[in-house]
């Protein structure tokens, strides 16, 4: 599963450890060993996380002797924010419209009420 870019990106950030890694890479590039150091899990586990981030297009890796420095690629973030903001905007606008409809209804009701009182 998780075939498309967007699915892979969201899935990658669904894990707290991976979000943490992204946060650290935002400060600066780091090797697998450096990234693994703060965690109690094995280096292989972190290596797997980095593979997921790489497959999601969030991280790119180069080579420096035995080391594999990881670098954050901010581009895919655009995809996600664009997707989210689109529906966020739609939902908020719809909410505003609903709100005004309710206001209209209330005003109408009050109008009717006043009519009844006449």
């Amino acid at each position: 599963m998780a075939q498309d870019r967007l699915s892979r990106a969201f899935a990658a950030l669904a894990d707290p450890t991976r979000r943490d890694i992204v946060a650290r890479l935002a400060v600066g590039d780091a090797t697998v060993g450096q990234l693994a150091e703060p965690y109690r899990v094995s280096l292989q586990a972190i290596s797997k996380h980095l593979r997921v981030l790489e497959d999601a297009g969030l991280v790119t890796r180069s080579r420096d002797a035995q080391r594999r420095p990881c670098h954050l690629d901010a581009e895919v973030f655009d995809l996600m924010t664009k997707w989210i903001e689109r529906y966020q905007r739609q939902a908020e606008e719809r909410y505003r419209r609903l709100d005004s409809v309710l206001t209209e209804l209330t005003e109408e009701k009050q109008h009717v009420h006043r009519h009844e009182q006449d």
Copy 2:
């Protein structure tokens, strides 16, 4: 797993069907049956997806006789965009700084080169 709000929200949107449901709910509220109709999967499967979206705080449900109308809640989107944009900004800024460092280095090199020519 997927304990915190942010993790649940990202995980919820990692599934294309659920993103599709969110897109439809942005247009307007809908019942489980209405939401399930376009898909070939069972209604129970969609019901499960809606539970995931609800647990993630992306969807709220009310009651209308037997029906359970679903409503998109845009609030959690804020959490996600804020998280993403924070590291996006950091990464981009770092990229700009690196860029200026490289420019400085190049200028320095040219300077040295000029010195050597003296």
